[in-house]
Symmetry: C2
């Protein structure tokens, strides 16, 4: 497969999610239809199954290529083991296509750990980046807030966190159009003396690197939804727990609303009227809107989605990947972290 076309080419792991390949194919078809075939999509997976879904979706006329891959890495596979044992998996085949620059981006709703590991190992890191990071998108009163890291690195060092902040700042600026994004360090209090050893050392590192980014100091858990920062920096253990907690809020409230409606016919009526406004209001917590989260810091564009990704989520992941390529996020990350490398901070 050559890449002679002028159009961007985005690879989709067709076997990644819980509803693969159906949702993946539907999302790809929708992305092409909605953009008037603005890019090409490469679907990687079990050929017969993928082609059958394309036919079902009447996608035969669209710029959809299929690259066969007969193995599947599932949610229960241990990431690094799976990469070795399943070289013909849709994930590994897709990442290798990206490594060879046959495609410009890679999108997967598969095993997050395996996608992160494959991207890091096979694509490599941008010079100056010690560890790639997953940037989760939270709603806030002042627009989207990034939480970095949301699960790529559980054991962090201060300079990892500093780099997460720089990468998040760039993503926030070039993807969300925020000027001079405010970067805050998630901590248990605002004073610089607060927190564990990691937080204190990281604070000092941010102060030292302040000329490059707009470091606003420590922020607290309540400041995320308030929109006090555009980028909230934390280790991947905390970020992952926080992201999953936040994503569970709408479901919890829906249960509460349902219980309320069950209390009587009038209340049921009231909740019926409210269905649409509530849906609109909870939209901000809905991962489908953003589709997926970028893995920042790898030599390529990788977007990771939920296992339960809907076609809409897959479509939005593809659009996000296109945008990340066009906005040259990686070029800007390399520019910003170049000195890091010469200081020998990566590793």
């Amino acid at each position: 497969m050559s890449h002679a076309s002028d159009k961007l080419r985005i690879a989709v792991d067709a076997m990644g999610g819980d509803f693969a390949p159906a949702n993946e194919v539907l999302g790809a078809v929708d992305a092409l239809r909605e953009t008037g075939n603005r890019f090409e999509i490469v679907l990687i997976g079990k050929e017969d199954a993928v082609r059958s879904e394309i036919a079902k979706a009447n996608g035969g006329d669209l710029p959809l290529l299929v690259v066969p891959a007969n193995e599947v890495i599932d949610m229960h596979d241990s990431p690094v083991v799976a990469l070795k044992q399943k070289p013909n998996s849709s994930l590994v085949v897709g990442i290798m296509l990206h490594k060879d620059r046959k495609v410009d981006a890679f999108v997967s709703a598969g095993n997050t750990g395996a996608v992160t590991a494959a991207s890091t190992l096979f694509l490599g890191r941008i010079p100056g980046v010690s560890r790639p990071t997953i940037a989760a998108i939270f709603p806030s009163e002042t627009g989207p807030t990034l939480v970095v890291d949301a699960g790529a690195v559980t054991d962090c060092k201060p300079h990892f966190l500093y780099e997460f902040g720089v990468m998040g700042s760039i993503y926030s600026e070039y993807m969300f159009g925020k000027k001079n994004p405010r970067v805050g360090l998630l901590n248990v209090g605002e004073e610089e003396t607060k927190g564990d050893e990691l937080a204190k050392e990281t604070y000092a590192k941010f102060v030292a690197g302040k000329s490059k980014i707009n470091f606003i100091g420590n922020i607290e858990g309540r400041d995320i939804l308030k929109g006090k920062a555009d980028v909230a920096v934390c280790d991947g253990f905390l970020g992952n727990v926080l992201l999953k907690f936040a994503e569970s809020v709408p479901t919890f409230l829906k249960v509460k609303f349902r219980d309320y409606a069950a209390e009587g016919p009038l209340k049921k009526l009231l909740m019926g009227v409210l269905r649409n406004p509530l849906r609109k209001i909870f939209k901000d917590f809905d991962y489908q809107e953003f589709g997926g989260v970028p893995l920042l810091g790898v030599n390529g564009v990788t977007i990771i989605g939920h296992g339960s990704s809907t076609p809409k989520a897959i479509k939005n992941m593809i659009l996000r990947a296109e945008e990340m390529v066009n906005r040259r996020i990686n070029f800007h990350i390399e520019e910003s972290l170049r000195e890091n490398k010469s200081e020998g901070m990566n590793g």
Copy 2:
């Protein structure tokens, strides 16, 4: 001041919160009125100010004692420094009364770090407890879920976390009436190989101590509101960020509802009708209902409240303190963790 009465005596830091002593006095008055003076309350603080609030609240006939303390530890004071520099603060005077068993419990909406430090230093720890823990109360689909630790200890060792789980289990059983409470370790995935070094070692520690508590393994951020566990164990850094995030959810949603109402008169009307049901639904996220959080593991009963505690929150903190004394939480903690001590694990 002697303690000859048969009634319990609960000390309230009258200078602790942002609206002290007004809210503290009002909360104390309400607690006594609501319970028909079931206990006595000792208000500690600037005597004139406290007595003036009592008069305003027509509380002259109630079993309210005032113990003078002329210094105040505020939110910006460094905890340990403040304890030394302000021996006549309402916080230190109150904790010393409790240490001398002049009162049976202590309630404060003051500086959380200072209340934790004073309780730990002056009351001491229950035998077998390495570190006291703040147990935050989260709502869930299956009733209240405790998150331990919610901010007492930011740098944790595996046996601290294990003890937090045991103490949380006891609190959940005796305060919420849960049988054999399910204790889960907050982690980035369910498999026992998941997480950072601390999580893996803690997992092993829980498995080793499983006979004492109902350890259900790793849980994820989304499992808290779902009610998968009665007790969610994590370090105080994560727990504190998570608690403050959760507390900010209703405010964020209120802003969303307000924005929605501003879109037009019909929407405004709809939101007006919904005000009460929404308030009822968000009640679960409202810290005022529980009033405050217990500091578990100290030789005494300490309840810590929000700086912004309302009279209702103060009242509920007092009721919670009474309940903790009556349910003999500390006796059960000592029973459960006694072996810990003989194994020399505390310190």
